[in-house]
């Protein structure tokens, strides 16, 4: 474990904790830079355009230029806003989405905190995002912001139910809430991943596969709604609400919201990949084990974790440029009429299968 290693190295618990808590940020900041650029390039090429081309080779420095621009921008606070809440909201949103990474294992060697209640902690801490978004919308004193925030809160809370049902299914099946233990369970080869029935054997495994695939689809869809991405982006629907709850924000506060959105995207993708695709586990053994270099294994695991997460982020982008936006009633109907019944049925049937 990273913390123990650092503690043995430095002998200072505060310093080692500080380093461990900052390491995910070291991954997420470049990730956000990359993801914003990837989003723009992917969207452009899907629409037969080129996207940013001027800054650097094929526009690779575009997001860096954007960040520099946002840093230089005046930090505007409208006079009619509730100043305290207005300034606090972006911090809360980012803290909420960053907090999720405390319980996400990046590799077998690195996990922020190896708590037993990992997944429940993540679900709880991401609730802060809802509070932050509502806070931002309310404090902006702007009807569009408030509408966006209300929609966002309604949407996130509705879609929490199918997400939690699927999480419950997995928890019921594996008997652990810790994402680290869950990842360790899906070790060795890809047929041990939860999407292919997990470590179960025989008839049980075969029976589990269709339910696991359905569960994966449902959790992916509902977490997509929780991070307010298209087709569930009615909270920040540009054509209706300017840009929702962050309409009034500028400069680095806006950048915080943006960072939080991309952090959330990765967190959600990471959760899906840990739940169903083995998290940091390689699909076919490790080079480090074969060669006898044990130090290589955590690095390989980090590579697999990052590439699985990035793959799901890219699928999110892909969906964004494929599907049109839901109407509010369609959104609610989709959640309550389709996702929730299906997730309950999956919970029930997987429970019956696991009794075998």
């Amino acid at each position: 474990m990273m913390y123990d290693w650092l503690y043995n190295l430095t002998g200072n618990s505060i310093l080692s904790m500080f380093i461990v808590s900052l390491l995910p940020l070291l991954f997420l900041l470049p990730f956000a830079l990359f993801a914003v650029l990837a989003e723009r390039k992917v969207s452009a090429h899907m629409q037969d355009r080129l996207g940013p081309m001027r800054t650097g080779y094929h526009g690779i420095l575009q997001t860096i230029a954007d960040i520099i621009k946002l840093l230089q921008k005046e930090d505007l606070v409208a006079s009619a806003t509730d100043k305290t809440l207005f300034n606090f909201a972006p911090l809360l949103v980012f803290a909420g989405s960053y907090g999720a990474f405390a319980a996400i294992p990046f590799s077998g060697f690195f996990i922020g905190s190896k708590i037993d209640l990992g997944i429940i902690f993540i679900v709880g801490i991401t609730g802060l995002v809802v509070a932050g978004i509502l806070m931002a919308g309310w404090a902006s004193n702007n009807k569009y912001s408030l509408l966006g925030a209300m929609r966002s809160a309604a949407q996130i809370i509705s879609y929490e139910i199918p997400t939690l049902m699927i999480i419950l299914t997995i928890v019921m099946l594996t008997g652990t809430l810790s994402l680290y233990d869950l990842s360790e369970m899906q070790t060795a080869y890809f047929w041990n991943w939860m999407i292919l029935g997990g470590p179960a054997v025989g008839l049980q495994k075969i029976l589990l596969i269709p339910f696991m695939m359905m569960g994966c689809l449902i959790i992916y869809t509902s977490t997509l709604a929780e991070v307010n991405r298209t087709p569930f982006d009615i909270p920040e629907a540009e054509s209706e609400l300017v840009s929702g709850y962050h309409t009034e924000y500028s400069g680095m506060k806006f950048a915080m919201f943006f960072m939080a959105e991309y952090t959330n995207m990765f967190a959600v993708s990471a959760i899906v990949s840990i739940m169903f695709f083995g998290g940091y586990q390689s699909p076919f053994g490790y080079l480090g084990n074969t060669l006898g270099w044990t130090w290589l294994v955590p690095i390989e695991q980090f590579f697999w974790f990052a590439s699985k997460g990035l793959f799901f982020v890219l699928v999110q982008m892909w969906l964004r440029w494929t599907l049109p936006r839901f109407r509010v009633d369609q959104l609610m109907a989709f959640c309550w009429k389709y996702l929730i019944p299906f997730s309950f049925v999956i919970l029930l049937l997987v429970g019956l299968i696991s009794l075998m």
């Binding site: 452009a44 080129l50 389709y338 299906f342």
Partner: protein, 200 residues
């Protein structure tokens, strides 16, 4: 119940079809033209900024007269004898110094009507379409190849010639008057009739 599951299946299936379409478009070459560095292919009969090839211009003023918005301003000066202005590319002899040939592109409506009357085909449309300016005066293009001093020089030459001719004329008139006065005493008018016959 059947429609419920059918809806679910169709939703999933159509999303996959849509994703297939967008994925295919990911690899279709972009239609974007990187404008300032890559310029679009213009049509063959494009009408953009005019250009006047002054080597061929004979100063006939036909383009200026054809212009519906009067954006062409031409001033010409006759050449003095002994000056060789050369010929145009289609063999016409030039006789006039063009001292002003201004086209005001702020007024120009790009109708191409000036291009057709030109006898030497020296005014034509080019493919230049990026010539925006901050001030309207900068859109008045001067095509004359002569230097400003030369233009003044040509005008002066012509005026001097005129003055000389005028002087000669006056002198001739004086001489004629003197001759007339002299012949009045001797003979009636005969040499003039001879001249007329020669002309015929």
């Amino acid at each position: 119940m059947r429609t419920y599951f059918l809806n679910f299946w169709q939703g999933l299936y159509t999303i996959l079809i849509g994703m297939k379409v967008t994925f295919r478009h990911l690899f279709i070459p972009a239609v974007t033209i990187q404008y300032p560095s890559v310029k679009p292919q213009m049509p063959e009969r494009e009408r953009n900024r005019l250009y006047v090839n002054m080597d061929d211009c004979i100063g006939c003023d036909q383009c200026a007269r054809a212009c519906p918005v009067n954006c062409i301003e031409i001033e010409t000066v006759k050449s003095i004898p002994g000056e060789d202005l050369g010929t145009t590319s289609n063999g016409k002899k030039k006789a006039l110094w063009v001292t002003t040939f201004n086209i005001d592109f702020a007024k120009c409506c790009y109708c191409q009507l000036c291009v057709f009357p030109c006898p030497t085909e020296c005014i034509y449309m080019t493919d230049v379409y990026e010539f925006s300016e901050f001030q309207r005066e900068n859109l008045v293009f001067d095509f004359v190849t002569l230097l400003p001093e030369e233009r003044i020089q040509k005008k002066k030459n012509y005026e001097e010639l005129q003055a000389k001719k005028e002087a000669e004329k006056i002198a001739a008139a004086k001489k004629a008057a003197e001759e007339k006065a002299a012949t009045l005493a001797n003979k009636p008018v005969e040499p003039k009739q001879e001249n007329k016959e020669e002309n015929k």
